[in-house]
């Protein structure tokens, strides 16, 4: 931190932005662009890249001022992958040209990003991926298949990891690229899910040419770069304060209050237990938020996803039972292509089915428990037999 900017100064700059570009009379895109250029997009980013080199803990000051002024936001749900994963990786490993080219349209929401990581044969064991990138002059030629790609059908850019050296152990022969989703050879197919929707995609890459100038980080070091992405995947929590009954528990509590005829003693006990757990999870998130604001981030973030996944599943399961006759119905099995991930929308049956993904997407609960055990508690890793074997010699 070169200049010690404080909360009062940040608040002053935010008020200047609001005065120069009143939200009531400024177009949404113009306001967001002005906010980026004022360094108030993500204040901890460098000057010129949407930030002010300020402590991250000052971001809530800006957000609160802008929310109070009813300023437009950049729809973080729609551009979540870009904001949460692509941006910190580009900031950490990108060239100056890459940072200047990609961060502004990413933050403003002009360009949506997706993530080409998971493969049919490499999910939790991500480093086992088999998509190949072969050097050809100034380009890399990429062939392979990715899966579980949310937003691929609306994305302009993708962060991509591919194998550039099959002769070394699996973690070492990976490189990290920025893939243009409009290039020939990129084919996006809807992947219909348990809910009937196609919120995710399969992406087939056939002879896709990516210029070397769109590589992030050194050749063969992509796994290390990907760690930055993955670490940031679950850190985005901590911004907004959630009200009591703010999540899925609110829906089921409302049904309980409004429909006395559905109540049974068994469901009452389960509802109360889950209500308490949801309230405690909310408080745990609030405590984590306070730690971040105080500049003392704790490892609790890795636990929050585990808690919310389990709670969402149990609460939505209870809701279907509570609804009885209505719980036997399902709103609509028509295949849709939603632009947003929506855990709580639609009906109880949808919520129940969609929540099954919460313990799989963004790292399975089992993988997260390993991370907590090893990185937070310091428990020893399990012995493994793939560390010193060349990727091409691993059983597949």
């Amino acid at each position: 931190m070169s200049t010690a900017i404080d909360a009062a100064q940040i608040r002053g700059l935010t008020q200047e932005l609001l005065a120069a570009h009143p939200p009531a009379t400024t177009g949404r895109a113009d306001f967001l662009a002005a906010r980026f250029d004022a360094g108030l997009a993500w204040v901890h980013y460098p000057v010129g890249l949407g930030g002010l080199d300020a402590p991250r803990s000052l971001q809530p000051v800006v957000d609160a001022e802008l929310a109070a002024a009813d300023a437009p936001d950049n729809d973080p749900r729609r551009i979540g992958i870009g904001l949460g994963m692509a941006a910190p990786t580009i900031l950490g490993y990108g060239t100056e040209e890459q940072k200047a080219r990609f961060l502004r349209p990413l933050w403003i929401g002009e360009e949506v990003w997706c993530q080409l990581f998971s493969e049919p044969g490499a999910g939790s064991d991500l480093a086992a991926l088999g998509t190949r990138a072969v050097r050809d002059g100034d380009d890399w030629v990429v062939d392979g298949q990715k899966v579980w790609t949310s937003s691929a059908h609306v994305a302009r850019w993708a962060i991509l990891i591919a194998r550039t050296d099959p002769d070394v152990p699996k973690h070492r022969g990976i490189s990290y690229f920025i893939c243009d989703m409009t290039d020939p050879g990129v084919e996006v197919r809807p992947l219909r899910q348990i809910t009937g929707e196609a919120e995710f995609n399969e992406v087939f890459l056939t002879g896709v040419r990516i210029p070397d100038s769109r590589r992030l980080g050194p050749v063969g070091d992509g796994w290390k770069v990907a760690q930055t992405t993955l670490m940031n995947e679950r850190v985005s929590i901590g911004g907004a304060r959630i009200p009591r009954e703010g999540g899925m528990i609110g829906t089921v509590a409302k049904t309980w209050r409004e429909q006395p005829a559905l109540r049974t003693h068994d469901l009452h006990q389960r509802l109360l237990t889950l209500w308490v757990e949801a309230e405690v999870a909310r408080l745990t998130g609030e405590r984590l938020r306070q730690q971040l604001v105080a500049g003392q981030p704790g490892p609790e973030g890795s636990g929050m996803k585990l808690a919310f996944a389990r709670l969402n599943q149990e609460i939505s399961g209870l809701e279907v039972e509570l609804l009885g006759d209505e719980g036997l119905l399902y709103g609509d099995w028509t295949m849709r292509r939603p632009e947003l991930v929506d855990f709580t929308g639609r009906d109880a049956g949808y919520r129940y089915l969609r929540s099954k993904g919460n313990s799989i997407e963004g790292g399975t609960s089992e993988v997260l428990l390993n991370i907590v055990a090893e990185r937070v508690l310091g428990l020893p890793v399990e012995p493994r037999n793939d560390k010193d074997v060349a990727w091409k010699d691993l059983a597949r």
């Binding site: 006395p260 009452h268 405690v280 405590r287 808690a307």
Partner: protein, 373 residues
């Protein structure tokens, strides 16, 4: 609602620097004077309480008077600081009448609001740690039953009173009001019971022809007793948190060191996942316990709900942590020499103290309007 008012209303769930200093002082005292072998030796002796330990904690650190205003002889601190002391006492399971005397009895006397007279005088004595007092109700009494306790006369038998055997004064609720009865006076018998929790003794209190000083009439006394039980239940969550943390820390330590099948048992995924799950529960219990302590400290109207949520959650976490601690220590966990059993016994007893999780869930149901069928 502006950001400022929202911030003012949000509970402070972190620890202040002063609270961390207090924690260090209490922790180092307990490490010195109440390590596991000392506690085990103590419970097998005739005097479960190490009075010199209580003296150091009460007078040396000033723990006994944390909740009492300075002008009445106390430290003028809050429930937040008292909660930190209880975290450390839970971590060491040292027998000390902090929860019963310095929290519950003290809170009742404070709630009576007396600036002078016998209640204020007793408060000063409790704050200095020279004397201790307990509420003469069963340890299992939930806050919701506080008002209903104002029945009967001074002729009575109360069973399962926590830490009565070491108390100087009994606070006795009757239909006529709340009485302070000297434990050593004529007509008072305190008969120790064999308790599940070896580190927090229980006794049967029998009053036959005893006399006492009336501190308050039944109406205000009922409110004060309810308030005392609410503080007890709310801060018990911090004891449960400290206890659970000790269990997790020791289990991690043990499973990292213990080798079976030619590797540390802590490297097996099935065990790692259980400990990671426990960590998540402990982290969550901390948020719930801090929320309860902060709500009590600030006199928030949210305090009854914060306490009910904390008790409904933290008692299960403490029992789970202690049960996992015994299981993951294997055969060692079943022995008398290893302190794990002290924590299991304390955790299970704590899950009944000041109301079971089920009783607190029933309170939640009432407070947030999720009525039973």
């Amino acid at each position: 609602m502006t950001a400022q008012t929202e911030a003012a209303q949000a509970p402070d769930l972190l620890y202040s620097e002063a609270e961390e200093d207090l924690r260090s002082a209490v922790r180092s005292l307990l490490a010195d004077r109440a390590d596991a072998p000392t506690v085990i030796a103590g419970i097998e002796s005739d005097t479960p309480y190490d009075l010199r330990l209580w003296e150091s904690l009460a007078a040396g650190i000033g723990a006994a008077g944390l909740l009492v205003p300075e002008k009445l002889g106390g430290q003028g601190a809050t429930h937040r600081e008292a909660a930190v002391v209880l975290e450390e006492l839970g971590r060491s399971v040292a027998p000390a009448p902090f929860l019963t005397s310095a929290v519950v009895a003290t809170e009742i006397l404070l709630a009576l609001g007396a600036q002078d007279g016998p209640a204020a005088e007793l408060l000063g004595e409790l704050a200095s740690g020279r004397r201790t007092a307990v509420l003469a109700l069963p340890f299992a009494t939930p806050p919701a039953d506080g008002a209903g306790a104002m029945t009967g006369t001074l002729e009575r038998t109360v069973t399962g009173v926590a830490e009565a055997a070491a108390a100087d004064v009994l606070l006795v609720p009757t239909a006529e009001g709340l009485y302070a009865v000297e434990a050593g006076a004529d007509g008072v018998t305190v008969e120790p019971l064999v308790a599940l929790d070896l580190t927090r003794p229980l006794a049967t209190v029998t009053l036959a022809g005893a006399t006492g000083t009336r501190l308050a009439e039944a109406g205000p006394a009922a409110e004060a007793v309810g308030r005392g039980l609410l503080a007890g239940a709310g801060l018990l969550a911090s004891e449960q948190l400290g206890l659970a943390e000790w269990c997790l820390t020791e289990t991690v330590r043990h499973t990292r060191e213990r080798h079976q099948f030619n590797r540390p048992v802590g490297s097996f995924q099935s065990l790692k996942h259980r400990m990671a799950q426990l960590w998540l529960e402990v982290v969550s219990a901390r948020a719930a316990a801090r929320n309860a302590a902060d709500a009590l400290a600030t006199g928030s109207p949210d305090a009854p709900l914060a306490v009910a949520v904390a008790q409904a959650y933290c008692s299960r976490v403490a029992v789970h942590a202690a049960e996992e601690c015994v299981q993951l220590h294997g055969g060692i966990g079943m022995t008398w020499e290893h302190p794990a059993h002290l924590y299991l016994k304390r955790a299970k007893a704590d899950s009944i103290a000041y109301g079971t999780a089920g009783r607190h869930r029933a309170s939640v149901a009432g407070l947030v309007e999720l009525p039973a069928p």
